[in-house]
Each structure stands twice: as structure tokens, then as C-alpha cells.
Amino acid sequence: MGKEIIQIKDLKIHYPIRSGFWNRITDYVRAVDGVNFSINEGETYGLIGESGSGKSTTGKAIVGVEKVTSGQILYKGVDITKASNRKRLNYNKDVQMIFQDSMSSMNPRKRIEDIIAEPIRNFENLTTDQERDRVQELLDIVGMPSDAIYKFPHEFSGGQRQRIGVARAVATNPKLIVADEPTSALDLSVQAQVLNFMKHIQQQYNIAYLFISHDLGVVKHMSENLAIMHRGRLVELGSREEIYKHPIHIYTKRLLSAIPQVDVENRDAHKLQREKVEKEFEENQSKWYDKDGRVFPLQEVAPNHFVAIPKDEVQDAISEEEKERD
């Protein structure tokens, strides 16, 4: 396990809800409500959860485009939730983002060259020629033909565009890339292509990914460690093996059981299992969530395996885990 590259500490992002007679702030959408995790150099960290659970918000906060309500994001020991710190560190040179919708993430009015060169221009002082070479090189890396440089985003297919998006993200040799559902808009075969590229680049440049997705198959394929998010908080966190093989939190189990399995033989069994978990989830809310419906703080149940359960149930969980392991 490598060195931690970024640490998220008790991150909270609340959006005000206005209502009432004076249109005052009466409540908050707690999009992210106390999240802690850290990502190691060169690893892929998966972040999974259902829609609206706060994944994107977390990701945006990490790249510094979302205003943080409270909490810290430490990069090289500096809290980069402050704009001045980000500026000083040239933070976005090191931390970049790949977006879900490749079309919308590229200015339709700009040529691929300008799109890829944008971060280079902002962070590096290159001559025009050097810059062009660099862009060509990047296109090469993501396997795009060099004449792409003069084209516009709409002239590419979704998969190609996403690869261009990858090229832009790696243009400044970043240390961390937040990839927010980079393939969920893509067809299966194209997804494969993009995921492959992401992996290759990671190996080549030792980039860490925060890989956000709701497709557990993809996350499993990509990441070493992962966290499962629910209602703005993390319910379970750990290595891929731990989570997939020994899920503890009911929400994790529910998520896992919902993934369609390519296992025609046992599909009825799956369905039964799914229904069982669902029932458990419906009936035992109080066991897994506090009285306000909030997720409990994380507790360590095994090395590199944390679950959100009340403190007094940690022991049970540990023993159960061990039992399962046997």
C-alpha cells in the first residue's frame, strides 16, 4: 500500500433549502454529510452508491469546484478547500477530473487541440510548438489519430470523446483523477475501451483514481479499495475483496444483490437472495440507521474494512465476519 495522496476529513456539503414566509433558509440538503476516506498514490479508489447519495458532490469538492460547508481535504498536508491554497499549489495541475457526459464536458465550440491544451496553457509555460507536440503525444497515448487535433467534439463517437476527456485529464501529469461515472453513458464495448485506457494510463503514470460509479461491476473491475455511500455518508469502506466477499452493512448487501449476474443457472436463487436482503433492509432500518435515518459513524471490523454500525455492535460484526470467512 502506497502513500496517501489525499485525505478527506469529515467533509460536509450542505445546500440550503429556502422556504417559509421570508424565504429564509429553513433546512439543508445534506448532500455530503461527514465523509472520511483517503486515497493512496497510484491506486483506484471506488466510490459507489445510489443516485443522489452525494458521490458527484464529493468528487467535485475534491477537484475544488464545489464549495465545502465544513471539513477538510488535505493534499500534501494542505487543506485545499480554500481557494487560495489551491491556487498556491497549482492544485488542479495535480488533480483533474473526467466527466460522465463527454459531450457536455467539452466546449462544442473548441477544437480538440484547444480542449486538451487548456490545462497545459494554464499550468505550464510551453511554446506553441511544444504545446502541440504535447497534445499530439496525449492523443497518441489515448489512441486517437493525430488529425483529431483539428476536429470538434461532435465529430467523434462517445467512446472517442471520452478518450479525449482522458487525454485532457492527464495533460498536466496529474497525481489524482476524479472520474465521475466515466463510462455510464457508453455502450458495453465502448466502455471496455475506455476502461482499458484508463488502466493503461494509470500504470504508465502512476495516477490515482477516484472512480465514481453506480455500476458495481465496473468498480470491481477497476478499483482496489472502495467506499459505499448512502445518504451523504459512507456505509462501508474497505478493500475490494472485503467488500465484495464479506459485505456487512445491509445497504452494501442490498446494492450487491441488485447487480444483475450473468449466471443463468442460478438466477432464481439470486432473486430469492435479493428478496431476502430487501426484506431485511426494509425491516431492520433501526439496526442500520440511527433514529434520524442517518448512517452511523464507521467502525473498523477488520483490517482495511470499516462499516457504519453502532459501536456496541462492532464485536458482533467482527465475529460474524470471521465466521463468514471460514
Partner: protein
């Protein structure tokens, strides 16, 4: 919702204060006063000056403004310098006329515009659409008054089908007689005015239909086996009418203030005409009151539009 309406009304207060101040100053900036040019053998400038003083026209503007606002709170908009009656009664009279004219115009506008818009939208890019669009462009591009004057000339004077001035005939008597006469006086101006105002509605409706036609929910309705005519009227049309409904409030209040030209051509004693007369005659008290009312109407129009929208479109919550 009532809370929100109330809040919106409260928010209007400061806006109205600024508006009133602005309007008052504007009126004061205008050269001349109600007594300017009272030059005839029967008047004496000294007496005129005495009257001006008595009317407070020599006071500094803020005192005049203060007085005006003070009276405002008692529902007193002052006395018209020219008509020598309370502005409220003057306006009430005219507002009623304009209101009925606007109402008729609105009804006519929609009864012309909606079928046209539907035809155009339904037969997008076919000849019906082209015809409607040409009609639309023409009414849009020709200044309204040219229309009005041609209309009054043809139908009022030459053919003599409609009265050419006023809001009611001198001979009308009895409740139904007066009502009939009023209606008769309104028809021609209302039709002409409606023809001009249809443009926007037709355009909105057409666009609405064209857009809604390809929405998924329409496909859903069809997949349920709903007959085409019902799909159109119940699903497409209702959704397409939303933007028009959104302007309904503004349309009505806008017509109240915006009928200057038609009222002028038809010597129809309404608010627009009153406004123009008040400017010409420097009838400040009436002028300020009118502009204030126009402002309030706009505000109410906006509010009304929002309320209407929130009623017919469940997705919208007014705030």
C-alpha cells in the same frame, strides 16, 4: 400558496414606493403645468397664479410628493386639474371602459389565435402553417395604427357598420340598451386590436405544439390506444397552452395599459386615452396616478401569471 402571494404583495411595496417617486419626479420634470397656456380673454394671469399657489404647485417637490403620498394612503389620488373631479372617479370610469374592451379583446385574441396556432402547429411546414405564418408576420410588421385607421375608415365610415367614437351611444337607454350599445362600440376596436395582438399567442402556441408533438409522453398516450384527436387536444394542446397561460396575467393587465392607440383612433374613453390626454394637458395628478396604476398592473400581472401557472402546471411552485 396564499402566504407566498402575500409575500409577493409585500415585496411590491418598496417597488411601488420607488416607482411612485420616480413617476412623480418625471411628471414634475415635464414643462408646463395644468394652467399653462390658459390664455384667453376671460382669464387673468394673476388669478391663474393665485390658483396655482392654492393648488400647491409652487411648493418644493418633496412637499408636493409628501402631500401626494399622504393622500394616497387615504385612497385619494388627488383631483384632476383638468377634469376637476377626483382622479379616482375619473380613472374608475375609464378603467371600466378599458377593462371591458380589454376583456373582449382578450377573448377575441384567443379565439382567433388558438385555432390559428393549432392549425399551424398541427400542420407544421404545410401550407396551412405557411398561411398562418404569413398572416402572423404581416400583423407583426405593419404598425397597428395603420390597421386601426384602415379599419375605422372601412367599417366605421364607409360601410357604417360600427360606431366610430365613444364607448356608448347617446341614445342608448335601459340596461340592455346601454349594454348593447357598449358592446356595439367595442366590437370594431376589439377585433382590430385582437388581430394585432394575436401574433405572439399564435407563435407561442405553434412552437409549443411543434415541441410537444415529439415529447415522450405523447408517444405514451398513443401507445395506450388513445385516439389521435384526443392525444392532440388532451395531451399536446394542454401542454402547449402553458406558455400562453403564463402570459395570461400580463396580457390582461398589459391590454389595460397598452390600448393607447386603439383608444386614440376610436376616441374611446379609456385609460390609454386618458393617459395621453393627461400628458398633453399636464394633468399631473391624473398622470402620476395612471403611471402608478400601470406599474401596479404590471406587478399584479406578473403575480397573476405566476399564480395561474402554479395552478395549471403542477410542477411550478410559486415563490
Amino acid at each position: 400558496m396564499w402566504k407566498t402571494v402575500l409575500r409577493r404583495l409585500l415585496i411590491m411595496i418598496p417597488q411601488l414606493i420607488i416607482l411612485s417617486l420616480l413617476v412623480f419626479l418625471l411628471a414634475k420634470m415635464m414643462p408646463g403645468d395644468p394652467f399653462t397656456g390658459s390664455i384667453n380673454p376671460n382669464t387673468d394671469p394673476k388669478q391663474i397664479e393665485a390658483l396655482k399657489r392654492a393648488a400647491g404647485l409652487f411648493d418644493p417637490w418633496y412637499i408636493q410628493y409628501g402631500r401626494w403620498v399622504g393622500n394616497l394612503f387615504h385612497g385619494d389620488l388627488g383631483t384632476s386639474y383638468i377634469q376637476h373631479v377626483a382622479v379616482t372617479s375619473l380613472i374608475a370610469d375609464r378603467a371600466a371602459n378599458t377593462f371591458w374592451l380589454s376583456l373582449l379583446t382578450t377573448i377575441l385574441t384567443y379565439s382567433i389565435a388558438i385555432p390559428l396556432g393549432i392549425t399551424a402547429g398541427r400542420h407544421q411546414d404545410e401550407w396551412q402553417d405557411t398561411a398562418v405564418q404569413i398572416f402572423n408576420y404581416i400583423t407583426f410588421a405593419i404598425p397597428g395604427f395603420v390597421f386601426y385607421i384602415l379599419g375605422i375608415w372601412l367599417f366605421g365610415f364607409t360601410l357604417g357598420w360600427f360606431p366610430i367614437s365613444g364607448s356608448v351611444s347617446a341614445n342608448a337607454s335601459g340596461f340592455f340598451g346601454v349594454l348593447g350599445s357598449r358592446l356595439y362600440h367595442m366590437i370594431l376596436p376589439a377585433i382590430l386590436y385582437a388581430l394585432i395582438t394575436t401574433t405572439g399567442t399564435v407563435q407561442y402556441l405553434r412552437t409549443g405544439i411543434v415541441d410537444n408533438k415529439v415529447e415522450d409522453y405523447v408517444r405514451t398516450a398513443r401507445s395506450k390506444g388513445v385516439p389521435e384527436s384526443v392525444v392532440f387536444n388532451k395531451h399536446i394542446l394542454r401542454n402547449s397552452l402553458l406558455p400562453i397561460a403564463a402570459f395570461l396575467g400580463n396580457t390582461i393587465t398589459g391590454l389595460l395599459g397598452g390600448s393607447m392607440m386603439i383608444e386614440m383612433v376610436f376616441s374611446y374613453p379609456g385609460m390609454g386615452k386618458l393617459f395621453l390626454d393627461s400628458i398633453a394637458q399636464r394633468d399631473y395628478s391624473t398622470l402620476t396616478a395612471l403611471i402608478l396604476i400601470f406599474g401596479i398592473l404590471t406587478l399584479i400581472g406578473n403575480l397573476l401569471s405566476d399564480i395561474i401557472m402554479s395552478i395549471i402546471d403542477p410542477r411550478i411552485r410559486i415563490q
